[in-house]
Amino acid sequence: MILSINNIIKKFGNFTALEINDLELEENKYYVVLGPSGSGKTTLLRIIAGLEFPDSGKITISGNEMTNAPAWKRDLGLVFQNYALYPHLTVYENIASPLNVMKMPRNEIIKRVNELLRVMELTDQAGKYPAQLSGGQQQRVALARAVIKKPTILLLDEPLSNLDTRVRIDLRDYLKRIQKEFKLTVIHVTHDPTEAMALGDEVIVLHHGKLIQKSSPRELYNKPNDIFCARLLGAVNLIPKNNLNINDNMDYDLLEIRSEDIKFSDDGEINGIIKSMQFLGSEILFNIDIGNYNIKVRGDKFDDNHNEGDNVKLSFIKSTMNFYKSGKRIEHTENGKFNKIPE
């Protein structure tokens, strides 16, 4: 275990920002901490970094207890959301800064920085000041500064949120490549579910300061621990029991099915009327009234057969359904058995 967190509590005044009982992270993995704003994800990152300190609990990094150690004793790298590049130093000096502090020999510093400048495709920018760089370049400088001392853990605080969409997708690949190339343990904080799924070996979901789920992106998407996690990742239909008469003898409140797991089908069991539709480019999102209840259904982008006001028949891919009781997912044995087929 490269990092273990035990019974951490952090309060700001009366507000409990973070309460984590047990979190263990392994080496050389890419972890993404996912949660909406106010979920405590940045607080968790700052506590790991040593920029905030927990009110109680224990943090162990590479086997050493570090709960109250200041940031400069933890040997971590951190990329700030606003990058926090030193504006009075050049790109080269910014990247070299952690090595200078370590009092590394000069030629060793030059060698390492130049190597990293090459990897980061920043060689031409070495003499410039941060203000002269684009957002993406600043981001890479910040990343270079964070990885140059080969930190035990690399922390990324919403590293892509200040960039425009195109650069963001490029940098995602880049981050993953850097992590593999330098064999880093990464903790990446974000509120963007797509980013979390694209990057994470494991995703850690926080809500109201508590850890809800820690699993691979696939598992998180297919078997969310609760409704919050289910809603977090993409469009989902949550249908109260008794609307569809599915698995009636099972004790649950809500049935969950993703919009892509519902298909138009002539022998479908469920009837509905198309209320509205949104053309999204790669797909069409239908809003369908199935009697007292509206569900979202993804259709093919070339689908010309279905229009507003049409009566349609739908079939659910039953194996993908999940069932929830008081917000938590419950295991079920019968895969979507209809007790009564609606007319």
Binding site: E52, A71, W72, L76, L78, N82, V101, R145
Partner: protein
């Protein structure tokens, strides 16, 4: 409020310790020592003996004390009321005209040494040789009102600036909403703007109260042209007693002033640290809803400018006149033939004073920076000392310096630094460090935390991060703070008067004597044979740094002074 780790905070305490110790020795201890002194008297041999309440009995025996207290009350209450009444319209005009060059012009009276300002008025209001000859033939300096005018003239800029900064800080969308609702002119000013900037107006009022209640410099400068006791106040009288060796009774007056100033200062500190808004009661009255026509605004602004600028114009004219022109009757307004002899004599006679002023102002401000910067940073970034430390700083900022005179004299005497550059350099931070800490505290409070955090992540301790990252990034703010500190140090009068008695001996190896330019100028009018031309030239020379700094700071002024202020 965010909690910051105790261990970081504990480390950062080291940063405020020097400032704290300095304030305790040179500002807090003296106030306590004064109280002890009130029960003592100095014997001929120089030792102190306990005399009980004898010093306090002097209060009832001093014949002119009633007059002195009356004068003090007039300065304390009339000056701030006039200031605020004049400052609100001026600030409104400034916002309306929105011309950047006006601000430094208006601020000039506050930037130049107060003694120089007083001298300018004394020359201008001279019933025979001053420009007032054409309007009014009586000598205003036989009354207290001359001092009131000088006080208002020199303090109005600051009052205006604080209120102006407040007006400028009103969000644009409020102005726009008023526009749409058709609320304008007097109605907008009284029902919207003034309630919005109530805090700034109060802060300005309190600051002016402090300013007026301890009037000193103009009284000193006008000593030679005023009848005895005509304009004396407690502040100046206690200095006279100190100078005459009546330390016990002087300490009694100072203790009284300490109590009064503490009360005012506490109000000031509370006001400055809790910026809260309350609803207004003036809304129900139907104020005229008409915008003032631009020609009127211009006319009144020009009147204000005349008030501020006329003394400058007059003293510059005087400085280029020959003696015959200066004492011509009726006065010659514009010199017929420009002569530079006044300047040559001024530099010759004043050289040691100029040198002393430059040296002690720069080094004194520098020492204050050295102690003040880390303290301001630790207080802002790590909340070291919390609100108490900043409260202490503002408190020291708002007490009159004259009350520290006797004990600080003993302290400097103890380290053999009376009448020396070193003595003044050591003592100047009492006067300028509170301003430096307050300005930089505000600067660092808005400074992004992430630079320091990035430095910590890079492996720098908070001390290294401060030295390598924070300091280089705050040179701008530090430079501005230094300039303000310099302006105060340059215009300082009370400390040089109390702690020096001769001019610099011009020896490089064994420097002695440290009377400043302010003493050179302020003391001249007390002499029998006054060289008005030379005095005018010296005054003009003494204004040069202030003028340069005012021009340099013109774009930063209202930002830097927002919330803060200047004594």
């Amino acid at each position: 409020m965010k909690r910051i780790n105790y261990s970081l905070k504990k480390r950062a305490i080291i940063y405020i310790i020097p400032a704290l110790i300095y304030f305790l020795i040179f500002a807090i201890y003296p106030m306590i020592e004064n109280i002890i002194l009130t029960f003592q008297q100095q014997t001929i041999t120089g030792s102190y003996i306990f005399v009980g309440l004898k010093n306090y009995m002097e209060l009832f025996k001093t014949p002119n004390l009633g007059k002195i207290i009356d004068n003090s009350l007039i300065y304390t209450f009339i000056v701030p009321v006039i200031d605020i009444l004049l400052a609100i319209p001026l600030a409104t005009f400034l916002k309306k005209l929105n011309k950047n060059f006006l601000l430094p012009m208006i601020l000039l009276p506050a930037f130049i040494p107060l003694v120089t300002g007083a001298t300018m008025w004394i020359l201008m209001l001279n019933p025979f040789y001053g420009i007032i000859y054409f309007i009014y033939h009586k000598d205003l300096f036989t009354t207290i009102w001359s001092i009131v005018i000088i006080d208002v003239w020199s303090s109005l800029p600051l009052a205006t600036l604080i209120i102006y900064a407040g007006l400028k800080a009103i969000p644009k969308n409020i102005d726009e909403a008023n526009n749409i609702d058709n609320i304008k002119g007097m109605r907008k000013l009284i029902t919207i703007d003034i309630p919005y900037i109530k805090y700034q107006i109060l802060a300005a009022f309190i600051l002016m109260l402090i300013y007026g209640s301890f009037t000193f410099d103009p009284i000193y400068a006008s000593l030679g042209v005023s009848p005895p006791f005509a304009n004396l106040d407690l502040s100046y009288y206690s200095y006279e007693l100190f100078f005459g060796g009546q330390l016990g009774f002087s300490a009694v007056l100072m203790t009284i002033m300490t109590v009064v100033s503490t009360v005012i200062a506490v109000i000031f500190v509370k006001l400055t640290l809790n910026n809260k808004m309350h609803a207004s009661k003036f809304r129900s009255i139907h104020w005229p809803n008409i915008e003032m026509p631009k020609p009127f605004v211009l006319f009144f602004t020009i009147l204000y400018l005349l008030f501020f600028m006329l003394p400058f114009v007059w003293i510059i004219f005087e400085s280029f006149k020959t003696n015959a022109e200066i004492f011509a009757l009726p006065p010659e307004i514009i010199p017929a033939k420009i002569t530079f002899s006044n300047y040559i004599y001024s530099i010759k006679q004043g050289e040691p004073y100029f040198i002393t002023s430059i040296v002690v102002s720069i080094l004194g401000s520098f020492l204050a920076l050295l102690i003040g910067i880390p303290a301001a940073y630790a207080a802002a970034r790590y909340r070291v000392g919390g609100i108490k430390f900043i409260g202490l700083v503002l408190f020291i900022y708002s007490i009159p310096l004259v009350i520290l005179m006797i004990p600080d004299y003993s302290l400097l005497n103890y380290i053999h630094s009376i009448n020396s550059w070193l003595g003044l350099i050591i003592i100047y931070p009492v006067m300028v460090m509170p301003i430096i800490i307050w300005m930089l505290y505000n600067f660092y409070s808005t400074f992004p935390k992430s630079y320091d955090e990035a430095a910590q992540i890079d492996g720098m301790s908070i001390f290294k991060s401060f030295r390598k990252i924070i300091l280089p990034l705050s040179y701008d703010g530090i430079f501005v703070a230094f300039l303000y500190a310099f302006i105060f140090a340059w215009g300082a009068l009370i400390f040089p008067l109390a702690f020096t008695y001769s001019e610099y001996n011009m020896s490089i190896l064994y420097p002695a004597g440290a009377q400043t330019l302010t003493i050179f100028i302020g003391g001249s009018l007390g002499h029998e044979a006054v060289e008005y031309g030379i005095l005018a030239a010296s005054s003009v020379l003494s204004m040069i740094p202030a003028v340069l700094i005012a021009i340099f700071l013109r774009s930063k002024i209202d930002k830097v002074w927002r919330g803060g202020g200047i004594k």
